[in-house]
């Protein structure tokens, strides 16, 4: 039996901070803008309907308050969403995936392949139009949601999925030995 117990030099370990992260596809911002436009159009239609049906609301104060709240929410969504989208970055390493997201609160996720349960490639109609896809990664972590990398080119998302599936299969094969 071969056994070794050599010291580990932590300074020689691969460093997360040394990895150059790759930004997601710039077209994802267009996808987001279309989504926001659709969402806020639906909300606006709802508000207008309520104002038409309710006579009590048809006064300048109610209209100006609702209009201001609507515009402010829209502005915050667009500013924070755009800032956040431009900062979404990822890196695929030999044994894990790194995903950085967020503007005001920045999150750096580090997900080892050998902890992944499964992964899913999602393509919405608007994402498809721009040749983009999202990759959702699922671990067994009890708290916290799954990690979804948005704005990946479709081919890259599929390749990543294949890579993850291969890693999971290798792990189960190893377990069954």
């Amino acid at each position: 039996m071969s056994f070794s117990n050599l010291p580990i030099h932590t300074e020689e370990l691969p460093e997360v901070q040394a990895v150059t992260l790759k930004p997601i596809h710039p077209d994802y911002l267009k996808v987001l803008r279309i989504n926001w436009a659709l969402l806020y159009a639906v909300i606006l239609a709802g508000i207008v309907t309520v104002f038409i049906l309710s006579k009590k609301l048809q006064n300048p104060i109610a209209i100006s308050i609702t209009g201001s709240v609507y515009l402010l929410t829209l502005l915050i969504t667009v500013i924070i969403g755009t800032g956040s989208c431009k900062r979404k970055q990822y890196a695929v390493r030999e044994k894990d995936i790194l995903y950085k997201t967020g503007w005001i609160f920045q999150h750096l996720h580090m997900i080892p392949y050998n902890r992944l349960q499964h992964c899913v490639v999602n393509m919405g109609p608007i994402e498809r139009k721009y040749g983009l896809a999202s990759l959702s990664l699922y671990t067994a972590a009890s708290e916290g949601k799954d990690i979804t990398i948005h704005g990946l080119p479709q081919t890259e998302a599929e390749q990543l999925k294949e890579l993850v599936v291969l890693q999971i299969q290798a792990l189960y094969a190893d377990e069954n030995v």
Partner: protein, 493 residues
């Protein structure tokens, strides 16, 4: 003797019919009870007996039919290394769980079970939904055989060296009556009072519209308005509430921890307890993802703690079967924990790392102050400028947060991490590198400016958080954690 294999699908013991009947009846009753009270106190006279007979009879018939169908269409077996359960008449469900993925097996024995030589079995699976398979009653011999079969499957993956470490069913801890009394006296009575009050208020709000119509409550409310609230009366009322709460704490603790016995063998922990109903749980060592133990201020002084073994998938669904062990001798913690981590990271008497004290100021700024502003705004409606007295809480809260920061310690070793925190009480946690699922570094604008970060380590049993540590330190721990997780294919479960 040949061990039963359970390869043919089988039903539960007929006693399960009674158990299932009462469970379904209870579920139906919890839905319709406000309606029943309404009928009882506000119902008009005439033909009421007939209505009650028809209504009650229909409900009982529904419960009876559902029970029989649920019983007849529930079958379990073990096929190809999987626990297979088929159930449901209208909505059919088939559950297949690989035996090695089973988290824990819980055995319960109520008075009825004891009389009929049966056991209730709860098989805890790794999934987040449909978290468990419940067999309401099977013969005790079958229950033991099924548990052994599952455990042997789990055990086949335990290395021999690990198996040799622990002798067969060694007694780790047993809670004596003195220990129970200590545990009851040191319980958080304020928490008990809050739980009772919340329960009473929530139920009172449900039935208030119905009670208003009854003469008894009308008189009671009228009487309440005539009482002259003197200091003596207020003190007496407080004493009555305090005594009732302490009695309730005793009852709660006795029901929850009576005869609590922890044993261990090479496979896992065997836990047994119960006053009215004897319960047993088996936790395989490999299923433990994270261990936490905590004491409130009084318990810390007298050396008592509650130890929580976090197993995979122990989320909201499984709170009812959480594994919380009462420890009356702190030395027992080391023994229980030693199977998970041979040596506590804090053991070499090192000082440990601390968190940045700006954590206290940020918490006060973003949590305490907004809450106080909201409270003061409401209070201002009643007390005008006196509402500002609410802000007296601010320095106390800030003091608590600073104390929390001062007490917070964490240690990093080759085996894993340990955390120690609390203001008056203490909470500790240990984590093995192997149990990490993924890591997250979170940074706000303020943290980025100050070179700080919050490191969240996710496991299948919960998250382990190190707030407001140095960003470089968070990266260093992450690099090492990733190295430890990725350099081995050792199964985390």
């Amino acid at each position: 003797m040949q061990m039963k294999t359970f390869d043919t699908p089988q039903r539960q013991s007929p006693l399960a019919l009674a158990m299932m009947f009462f469970k379904i009846l209870r579920t139906v009753f919890t839905i319709i009870w406000p309606m029943l009270i309404g009928l009882l106190v506000g119902g008009k006279k005439g033909n009421s007996a007939l209505k009650w007979i028809i209504g009650g009879g229909s409900i009982l018939l529904f419960v009876l039919v559902k029970t029989v169908l649920d019983y007849l269409y529930f079958k379990f077996s073990i096929q190809d290394g999987q626990l297979v359960v088929r159930k449901g008449f209208f909505y059919k469900t088939a559950i297949s769980v690989p035996l090695e993925r089973i988290q824990a097996v819980h055995m319960e024995q109520s008075f009825l079970h004891t009389l009929t030589f049966t056991h209730k079995l709860i098989i805890d699976t790794a999934g987040k939904e449909d978290a468990e398979v419940t067999i309401y009653a099977i013969p005790s011999s079958d229950a033991h055989a099924l548990r052994e079969l599952i455990l042997n499957s789990v055990d086949s993956k335990v290395e021999n060296s690990e198996a040799e470490k622990v002798p067969a069913t060694k007694l780790v801890s047993r809670l004596t009556i003195a220990g129970l009394v200590k545990l009851s006296l040191s319980a958080n009575h304020i928490e008990t009072m809050a739980v009772v009050m919340l329960f009473l208020f929530s139920r009172y709000e449900d039935v208030k519209p119905l009670l208003r119509n009854t003469p008894f409550f009308k008189n009671l409310i009228a009487y309440g308005e005539t009482i002259n609230y003197t200091w003596q009366l207020i003190v007496s009322l407080f004493l009555v509430v305090a005594i009732v709460t302490i009695i309730l704490s005793f009852v709660r603790i006795f029901l929850r921890f009576y005869d609590y016995t922890i044993r261990m063998d090479s496979k896992g922990y065997y836990i047994r307890w119960g006053l009215l109903q004897v319960k047993q749980k088996m936790i395989p060592f490999k299923r433990i993802q994270l261990i936490q133990w905590r004491s409130n201020f009084v318990r810390r002084l007298i050396g008592i703690a509650l130890l929580n073994l976090k197993v995979a998938g122990a989320d909201e669904v499984k709170k009812k079967i959480r594994i919380e062990l009462p420890i009356t001798d702190i030395g027992q913690i080391k023994e229980i924990v030693s199977v998970y981590q041979p040596k506590l990271p804090s053991e070499p008497e090192q000082e440990g790392y601390t968190i940045h004290k700006s954590y206290a100021y940020r918490k006060t700024l973003f949590i305490t102050i907004p809450i106080l502003i909201v409270l003061a705004s409401f209070a201002a409606l009643l007390w005008q400028w006196y509402a500002l007295f609410v802000f007296i809480w601010l320095p106390y809260s800030l003091g608590l947060q600073l104390l929390y920061c001062r007490n917070f310690r964490f240690w990093v070793t080759d085996d894993g991490l340990q955390q120690y925190k609390g203001t008056w009480g203490r909470a500790e946690a240990i984590l093995n590198w192997n149990n990490i699922q993924y890591l997250k570094i979170r940074r706000s604008i303020y943290q980025r400016k100050k070179g700080l970060a919050t490191l969240v380590i996710h496991t299948a049993g919960g998250a382990f958080e190190l707030p407001y540590i140095l960003h470089e330190q968070a990266l260093e721990i992450s690099n090492y954690a990733l190295f430890r997780t990725e350099s081995t294919q050792r199964n985390w479960m």
